[in-house]
Each structure stands twice: as structure tokens, then as C-alpha cells.
């Protein structure tokens, strides 16, 4: 494999503290429900570097959204972080008070959600809603932030911005509302933007516009972005590095070239085989992943993927696989990868 630009940055290992904006270690989050404890996130560790786009791919229930909601501590009443450490810009978030967290949200870390229809308040004008984070975080512009709001709307391509600030959400299309959400998320110039399935509810042509916009703004403001999606195509076109999540665990981590051209985990390989590539002409049969995702009320003791994996060994059923470094930038949590590495060393 050729050495690409992003590989020189090295992965996985914490070390260079300066580079790392967000560091998560062994995060465990559970939801306490009437039927028992749902272990939504079962111990994940990763870093987000300054200025990078980190893609998180996984299916529903894989824990990708809950991981991010844990970082922002937006888990609601039934969810709780039961273990692990979260460090943002050198400061531990796990021990912070709710007031200190509130001060962080929207100012240093912003989040946008899947559904732009329900994320905006229908009875307040767009300008009013965009002003909220400015006021909350001590904006003291003499014009009440109007200039800043108009400027941000222009950045996301809503024109004529001066008139449109006064309009209400229903006067905008789905794509425009997501643009407004992005403008609002970036209005305080945060260090980190968490985008949870930002284009899933949008049509492909609008999706392409929004992804272009996010990449452009990222280059311009140097914001780190965590992009959560289930769409491998979106990840391939947008992310610098990729985490693959399954059953509440990170099963593989690497640059997008690692993940797409040299997938080390059977789940990643399964995912890639189960989607048709629109560029290939052959009509080969899709290779689905048989079976269902694990039940997180009773997570399997070993590898979360063991029940569906075509290469399951006895060890996979009993013991969680160790994280194995395949290359500097590439790691997989799989017994096969661990064995291979051992074998190579002998």
C-alpha cells in the first residue's frame, strides 16, 4: 500500500497530546430500563485529532450515537455513564458539573442531528433561534448578533440572508433547514462539531450539497468533525479516519484507505460486501451478513460479532478480542488479527 498523507499522522496511540482534542478511554454507557440494564456502549476508546473528520460507521444499536451523547452528557434520565474517562482539550469531562457541561455545549462542542424537521422550533424565527447560543455564551455584540447570524447564513448558502433571518422553519426546505442547523452549530466557532446522521433524511443531491458544505466549512474554520453515519459511501467521500462500531464496541479503526482497501475485521468486510458498488457493471449477488445484531440486554461474553461471523473460533465465544494494531494507523479488535500478528512474530 502506498503511504498516504493521513497515515503519517499515526493512529490509535494517544501519546502526542497536543494533537488530540477529544480523548475517550474505556467508555461504558448503560440504559436502565424496566427489563434490565442495556449495555449500549461496552467500553470504547478513541481519539479525535484537531482539524480531522472522524467517521463513525455502524448500524442501529451499535452504540455510535450513544457514545457521542455520552460525551455531551445528553443521556436523559435512564442513561448513565457507568465507567471510563472522557477528556476534552486536556480537561476531564467525566467529573464536570452540569453547569460546566452546559457552558461547553454549543460553545466548544456542537451537535447536529438527523432530522432537520424536528430540530428547529416551528414557532420561533430562524434568526431568534440562531441568536440563542450567542446569548447563552455571552455574545456582547451591540446589534444583538445580527451581523454574525447573517454572516453564518451566508456561509451556508442561505440567501438573501438579511431577509431570511426573519423567516420561520416551515418556509425552508429540508436541505435548507439542515444548513441552518449547521450555521447555528458553528455560530460560536466550536472546536468540535458532532454530526449525527446529518444527511440521512435528505435526498442524494441535497446530501451531496450538505457534505460539500461541511467539508468546506471544516477547511475554513479548522473545526474537528465527528461524522456518524450508516452509509459507507458518505464515509468514503468525507472522513479522514474511520471507526467501525458493532454491538457497543469499536471493532476496527483506521484511515479510510485502511478500512475500505484492507479491512481487517470480518464485520467490516461483511458490510463492504453487502452494499452494491454503483460503479461496477457486474450484477453479482450481494453477500449479506446473516443473522441479527446482538441483544445488548444480554451481550455475548466474547466478541460481539461472534454469532454472525463466518470465521468464529472457540475463543471468540468466550473472551472479548484484544485490540490489535495491524499497522501504525490501523487497529482491529478481532482474535483472527491477534493470532495473525502472533504468528508473524514467531
Amino acid at each position: 500500500m502506498t503511504v498516504s498523507r493521513d497515515m503519517t499522522m499515526g493512529t490509535g496511540h494517544p501519546a502526542h497530546g497536543e494533537d488530540v482534542l477529544l480523548r475517550v478511554r474505556d467508555l461504558r454507557t448503560s440504559f436502565f430500563t424496566p427489563v434490565g440494564e442495556v449495555r449500549a456502549v461496552g467500553g470504547v476508546s478513541f481519539d479525535v485529532r484537531r482539524g480531522e473528520v472522524l467517521g463513525i460507521v455502524g448500524e442501529s444499536g451499535s452504540g455510535k450515537s450513544v457514545t457521542m451523547l455520552s460525551v455531551l452528557r445528553l443521556l436523559g434520565t435512564s442513561g448513565r455513564i457507568v465507567g471510563g474517562e472522557i477528556e476534552f482539550d486536556g480537561v476531564s469531562l467525566t467529573t464536570r458539573s452540569e453547569a460546566q457541561m452546559a457552558d461547553l455545549r454549543g460553545r466548544r462542542i456542537s451537535m447536529i442531528f438527523q432530522d432537520p424537521m424536528t430540530s428547529l422550533n416551528p414557532v420561533l424565527s430562524v434568526g431568534y433561534q440562531m441568536r440563542e447560543p450567542l446569548l447563552r455564551h455571552g455574545g456582547r455584540e451591540s446589534d444583538g448578533g445580527v451581523a454574525r447570524i447573517v454572516e453564518m447564513l451566508r456561509h451556508v448558502g442561505i440567501e438573501p440572508a438579511e431577509q431570511r433571518v426573519k423567516q420561520y422553519p416551515h418556509q425552508f426546505s429540508g436541505g435548507q433547514r439542515q444548513r441552518i442547523m449547521i450555521a447555528m452549530a458553528l455560530i460560536c466557532n466550536p472546536d468540535l462539531l458532532i454530526a449525527d446522521e446529518p444527511t440521512t433524511a435528505l435526498d442524494v443531491t441535497v446530501q451531496a450539497q450538505i457534505l460539500e458544505l461541511m467539508k468546506g466549512l471544516q477547511r475554513r474554520f479548522g473545526t474537528s468533525i465527528i461524522l456518524i453515519t450508516h452509509d459507507l459511501g458518505v464515509i468514503a467521500g468525507t472522513a479522514d479516519r474511520v471507526l467501525v462500531m458493532y454491538g457497543g464496541h469499536i471493532v476496527e479503526e483506521g484511515t479510510r484507505r485502511d478500512i475500505f482497501y484492507a479491512p481487517a475485521h470480518p464485520y467490516t468486510r461483511g458490510l463492504l460486501q453487502s452494499v452494491p458498488n454503483p460503479e461496477t457493471l457486474s450484477k453479482s449477488r450481494l453477500i449479506p451478513i446473516e443473522g441479527q445484531p446482538p441483544d445488548l440486554l444480554n451481550p455475548p461474553p466474547g466478541c460481539p460479532y461472534s454469532a454472525r461471523c463466518p470465521q468464529t473460533m472457540r475463543v471468540c465465544l468466550a473472551f472479548p478480542p484484544p485490540r490489535t494494531q495491524v499497522s501504525d494507523s490501523h487497529a482491529a479488535s478481532c482474535w483472527l488479527a491477534a493470532r495473525k500478528l502472533e504468528g508473524g512474530a514467531v
Binding site: D203, L211, E212, D231, G233, A236, N277, L286
Partner: protein, 321 residues
């Protein structure tokens, strides 16, 4: 001649089909004169963005909506003006699979009752029903013992299989699949698509496959029709459409599909469409796409392009292509 779009052995033929809805602001021309035909045993893909009229087209064909104008022929018989009673025997031959496997199954009915309901309506002899339900459940990849359970005990993919079993219960010839995989996870989508393909082969089914996921549509369809604001703008063999798209809208739509391949994704030329889809309440004059088209000329603003054959069954409605 539009009637030729698909040849003479058409199972289904739709001519100038229109479905308009009256709303407080005026008239929404959801489907505004579409024509196509589907051969027995083939899969026709119908793609387009939200609001283009693809779902309305599917539902109008099944006569869940009454067509405003135009005609629907099935096995040579015109269905357009049949009464509900006259329609009943035809409904046995035309079934539907819905997008949302959570909303399309009655939560208070057992799986067995759900799959059996069409048999009750179409008077399948009583002593055959239970046996048929068991066979159907096995056929779609469920456990035949699952009949006594309720929908909430199943995952999204399994529910979609129940929906498929229900559609197959009265041995139809033709199934309208309205976004059958959009609500499912990636790894489950492939399971369902493979099941649909196997069933088509085994039972000789014909599909109208409605979806917005262009990669899946390309994979499953023999021919594909692209809709924009109530019109079909291009129709061709699946591989022909994807390698040689003629309509500027099809081109931009194809270039916007995210490909799961980083190098291809970086090297690809994206045609990013400006603006948003215009309101179907007040569609643009002439070619409806002219407001967003990079090749539009004065003529496009006035003249409505008709479907023309560019050879080998590749039809396009564009003055410039």
C-alpha cells in the same frame, strides 16, 4: 410510440397516468402523465427524490389512489375504471410491499393472521390456509413456528419478511415494492434484496421497485425509470442508464451517489445541482427541470419535451440531450 416502451409482451402498461391532489393552495400535480410498461418477469426500478411522485405512481397503479387521468392495463385488461368489486380479482394478482415494516403490520394481529388475511379476503379454502402460511414463512426465510408471535417480537428485517409473506399469500403475478429496504440497516438490506431476487426467480414474479437508493435500484432492476416532479425524464436498461445517462438530471443524480470507495470518490466529477426541487404546486413551465439545469436554453423554458427513443429502448425527455 410510447406504448412500445417495454415491448408487446407487457404485463403492465401505464399510459399518460396522472394523479392530482387538491390542496388548499391549489392543485398538486404529483404524477403528471407518465407512461411505461413492465414485461412479465422483469423488475422495473422507479427512482427519484422525495416528492417526485414515485410512490404516488405505485399506489395509483394498485388503485389505492383513483387516477385523475390516463389508463392502466394489466394482462391486457384496463383497470382504470373498474369498480372496487370488479377490481377484487385483479388485486389478487397485484400486491404491494410497503416501506415501513413497523407501521404496515397490525400490532394486535399474530403473524399468522397477518399473512392469512389476504387469503380470507380472496376466499382461499379454509383447510389450505394454515399450511400455506407455514410454507410462506419458510419461503421468506422465517421460522414456520413463528406464526403465533406478534410483530413487536421481530426485528425490522424480519418484519419486512412478514410483509413479503403477506404479499405472496394470494400468489400474485406482480408486486409493487415501495421502498422495501429504506428503513433497514445496511447488512439487513442485502438479505431482503437477495430474498426478493430468489422469490422472483422461483415464482416468476414481476416487480415495480420504487426507491431512492440508486445503487440498490441499479443492482435489482432490469430497467430503470427516473422521475422528476411528476414526470418520467429518462427510462433505459439499468446498465445503459448508469453508463450512458442522457438527461442532465439523471447525470447529476448518478454523480451524487456516494460510492463506498475512497479513491473513486475523490476522483469522481460531481455535478452539484443548484437550489431545491420547485414546488409541485407551481411547477416551472416548459421542461420542469430547466430551473436547475446547467444546459437549459430559452426553448427549455417554453417547450415541454416529450419522451423520445434514442435506440435500444433508451428513452429520454430532454430537448438538449
Amino acid at each position: 410510440m410510447l406504448g412500445n416502451m417495454g415491448g408487446s409482451d407487457a404485463l403492465l402498461e401505464v399510459r399518460d397516468l396522472m394523479k392530482h391532489f387538491s390542496v388548499p393552495g391549489g392543485l398538486v400535480r404529483s404524477v403528471d402523465g407518465v407512461s411505461f410498461s413492465i414485461r412479465a418477469g422483469e423488475t422495473l426500478g422507479l427512482v427519484g427524490e422525495s416528492g417526485c411522485g414515485k410512490t404516488t405512481t405505485g399506489r395509483t397503479i394498485v388503485r389505492l389512489y383513483e387516477p385523475t387521468a390516463g389508463s392502466i392495463f394489466f394482462q391486457g385488461q384496463e383497470l382504470t375504471h373498474l369498480t372496487q368489486a370488479q377490481m377484487l380479482p385483479w388485486r389478487k394478482k397485484i400486491q404491494m410491499i410497503f416501506q415501513d415494516p413497523y407501521a404496515s403490520l397490525n400490532p394486535r394481529m399474530t403473524v399468522s393472521d397477518i399473512v392469512m388475511e389476504p387469503m380470507v379476503i380472496h376466499k382461499v379454502p379454509k383447510d389450505e390456509r394454515a399450511d400455506r402460511v407455514r410454507r410462506l414463512l419458510t419461503l421468506v426465510g422465517l421460522n414456520s413456528e413463528h406464526g403465533n408471535r406478534y410483530p413487536h417480537e421481530f426485528s425490522g428485517g424480519q418484519r419486512q419478511r412478514i410483509g413479503i409473506a403477506r404479499a405472496l399469500a394470494v400468489e400474485p403475478d406482480f408486486i409493487v415494492c415501495d421502498e422495501p429496504i429504506s428503513a433497514l440497516d445496511v447488512s439487513i438490506q442485502a438479505q431482503i434484496v437477495n430474498t426478493l431476487e430468489d422469490l422472483q426467480r422461483e415464482l416468476g414474479l414481476t416487480y415495480l421497485f420504487i426507491a431512492h437508493d440508486l445503487s440498490m435500484v441499479k443492482h435489482i432492476s432490469d430497467r430503470v425509470a427516473v422521475m422528476y416532479l411528476g414526470d418520467i425524464v429518462e427510462l433505459a436498461e439499468s446498465s445503459e442508464l448508469y453508463t450512458n445517462p442522457l438527461h442532465p438530471y439523471t447525470r447529476s443524480l448518478l454523480s451524487a451517489i456516494p460510492v463506498p470507495d475512497p479513491d473513486l470518490s475523490d476522483s469522481r466529477h460531481r455535478i452539484v445541482l443548484e437550489g431545491e426541487i420547485p414546488s409541485p404546486l407551481n411547477p416551472p413551465s416548459g421542461c420542469k427541470f430547466h430551473t436547475r439545469c446547467s444546459c437549459a436554453e430559452d426553448a427549455c423554458r417554453v417547450e415541454t419535451p416529450g419522451m423520445t427513443d434514442r435506440g435500444d429502448g433508451h428513452f429520454v425527455a430532454c430537448l438538449k440531450a
